[in-house]
């Protein structure tokens, strides 16, 4: 199957990736090839097969809902490109110009 240029652009937008026209064209071709290969799965009738979501047997364990010490704020902020007053700093979210 072949992805359209619009589809590839839409995927890049969903994935928050700013890509050049050349990258979009290359990925369109490569992803279409990969999807062709993936279509092989349609050879199999899986109507009565239950999906395998995890490689661990049994249900996910629950733990007690207790407060525990976490890593200190300064340590968690040490890699932030921008931080202020113990918080990550980002450009304004509200009133952002529509793109």
């Amino acid at each position: 199957m072949s992805l359209t240029p619009e589809e590839v652009k839409h995927i890049a937008k969903l994935a928050h990736l700013e890509l050049s026209d050349e990258q979009l064209a290359l990925y369109r071709e490569q992803l279409s090839d990969i999807l062709d290969h993936i279509a092989k799965l349609n050879e199999l009738d899986t109507a009565d097969i239950s999906p395998m979501a995890n490689a661990v047997e049994g249900a996910s364990p629950l733990r007690a809902d207790e407060t525990r010490p976490s890593l200190p704020t300064e340590k968690l902020l040490q890699n932030a490109p921008s931080a202020e007053a113990g918080q990550f700093k980002v450009p304004a979210v509200f009133g952002e110009k529509k793109k």
């Binding site: 799965l41 996910s60 979210v93 793109k99």
Partner: protein, 470 residues
């Protein structure tokens, strides 16, 4: 492990052993590029654990750069984590440090462990110690090359679709991809969370086992870790292999694979038979579907896991114009092509209208692949098979064709999808003196059984003792 025994017997100090690793790294790694970071102060740390009674007291090791070690940068082979200093240490690494091991540095990897050659590292390719023009395999190529070249006695790796076993095979070393859930993933930069396994590479099974034993176990910080159910995981086979049943799956000997790979693997299986094992032809009928299943599930999980690299928390940031620009430009400029491709593929597979056709379908076929293994392990103790269809290929030879690179993984993906362990063993060389590996796969929690078979094999062969001339 000989070095561990020498350390215990006081024949060598930990400081001297660590200094020797650093000296060898300094002499050889400019041509190999197996390390991304080396801690030159490691010998000082080593000095303080001499004469300790801890199980790994003073043992120098290296860690793949997708695992966090506090005090050392963690790049995951990506420009998006350039300069990142992790505020904590991965559980698997911490357990080894607690047992006395000395982490000397971080090894090269394909970006976020996505690749089969280390060519996808944003910090440059690692070269195969057996031939510098060839790749070391990947994504744990730095760890495999470092062990093969004797820079470290052992190194941690991770295996999501073959990333321990395939580089072990390409570099002629041994490596264990454990049962999914047996080793904590806490502190591992997540790629495909339902597939990721943390394991270890070393020259021989004897070198791997003492480290593996310290890494395993339930971790409250990783809810998918489990201890073996009672009565499982504690049935090692006798050294003679008498009564051990080893399955050989027809689907792993395919048209187009390098004849020498098939030849050496069949010889190794013949050796297991000589040691007393019963060889049983088996079928794993859904093997050919592992590649399409993997390339839906792993990218889907990756697209969610890598959403966290957004230019806000992990340094660095491109653009400050708007929040959308922070996300889009940081990710667009800092991720490499293979990572972008897999994020796009996964985003597409999970997007509205396509979920059932791709993700849902792949999860169902994953069930069929797991059942193949369950049925096989109802009959045999272990499965012996090739690891890769070829020996190490030349750097750059796959060009810009991602699908041809994915096909390198066809024999390793099924174990990850089924969550079963795989042990890589060197079993010979091709005509170009490039190493060939074989994998032993077992039922969940059967690592000890695989180790026993591997030890029996390495007791009568010397492929694991071969060293490249550097």
């Amino acid at each position: 492990m000989k070095l561990l025994n020498d350390l215990k017997d006081g024949k060598i100090t930990s400081r001297a052993a660590t200094e020797a690793c650093l000296a060898r790294e300094e002499a050889l790694d400019s041509s190999l590029h197996s390390f991304l970071h080396v801690d030159r102060s490691a010998p000082e740390r080593a000095g303080s654990v001499d004469n300790s009674s801890k199980p790994l007291a003073g043992l120098p090791i290296a860690v793949k750069d997708v695992l966090m070690v506090e005090g050392m940068p963690a790049t995951c082979g990506s420009k998006i984590l350039e300069g990142f200093m992790p505020p904590f240490t991965a559980t698997a690494v911490q357990k080894l440090i607690d047992a006395g091991a000395i982490v000397i540095g971080k090894t090269n990897t394909d970006e976020f462990a996505m690749g089969s050659s280390t060519e996808n590292s944003a910090y440059g390719v690692t070269h195969n110690p057996w031939n510098l023009k060839r790749v070391p395999g990947g994504s744990s190529g730095g760890s495999a090359a470092a062990v093969a070249a004797g820079l470290v006695p052992a190194a941690l790796g991770t295996d999501t679709g073959g990333s321990i076993r395939q580089p072990a095979s390409f570099c002629g070393v041994s490596g264990i991809k454990p049962t999914y859930g047996r080793v904590s993933r806490y502190g591992l930069a997540a790629y495909g969370s339902s597939l990721d396994s943390v394991g270890v590479l070393g020259r021989s099974v004897d070198d791997i086992v003492p480290i593996f034993e310290q890494m395993i176990g339930k971790d409250p910080l990783d809810a998918t870790t489990v201890d073996p159910p009672a009565g499982r995981g504690d049935r090692p086979v006798a050294p003679t292999l008498n009564g051990t049943k080893i399955g050989v799956p027809a689907e792993y000997f395919v048209k187009g694979m390098q004849a020498e790979v098939e030849g050496r693997v069949r010889e190794a299986i013949g050796m297991l038979e000589k040691l007393g094992a019963q060889i049983i032809p088996i079928n794993l009928p859904h093997t050919e579907y592992a590649l399409p299943v993997y390339y839906i599930l792993a990218p889907a999980e990756a697209s969610a896991n890598l959403a966290r690299y957004d230019g806000i928390r992990y340094t660095p940031r491109e653009s400050d114009a708007s929040l959308q620009d922070v996300y889009r430009q940081t990710r667009g400029k800092r991720f490499g092509a293979e990572v972008e491709r897999r994020i796009m593929l996964g985003t597409y597979a999970l997007s509205a209208g396509y979920y059932d056709a791709y993700y849902g379908k792949a999860q169902k076929v994953r069930t069929l692949i797991r059942r193949d293994f369950e049925e096989a392990f109802g009959v045999v103790d272990a499965i012996a098979a090739p690891i890769a269809p070829t020996t190490a290929f030349e750097i750059g030879s796959h060009g810009d064709d991602p699908l041809s690179m994915y096909l390198e993984d066809i024999f390793t993906l099924p174990a990850n999808l089924a969550g079963v362990p795989g042990l890589a063993l060197p079993v010979g060389f091709d005509g170009d003196q490039m190493p060939i590996g074989m994998q032993l796969m077992g039922a969940r929690f059967s690592e000890e059984k695989l180790f026993a078979i591997g030890r029996a094999y390495q007791g009568v062969t010397d492929w694991h003792e071969m060293k490249p001339i550097l």
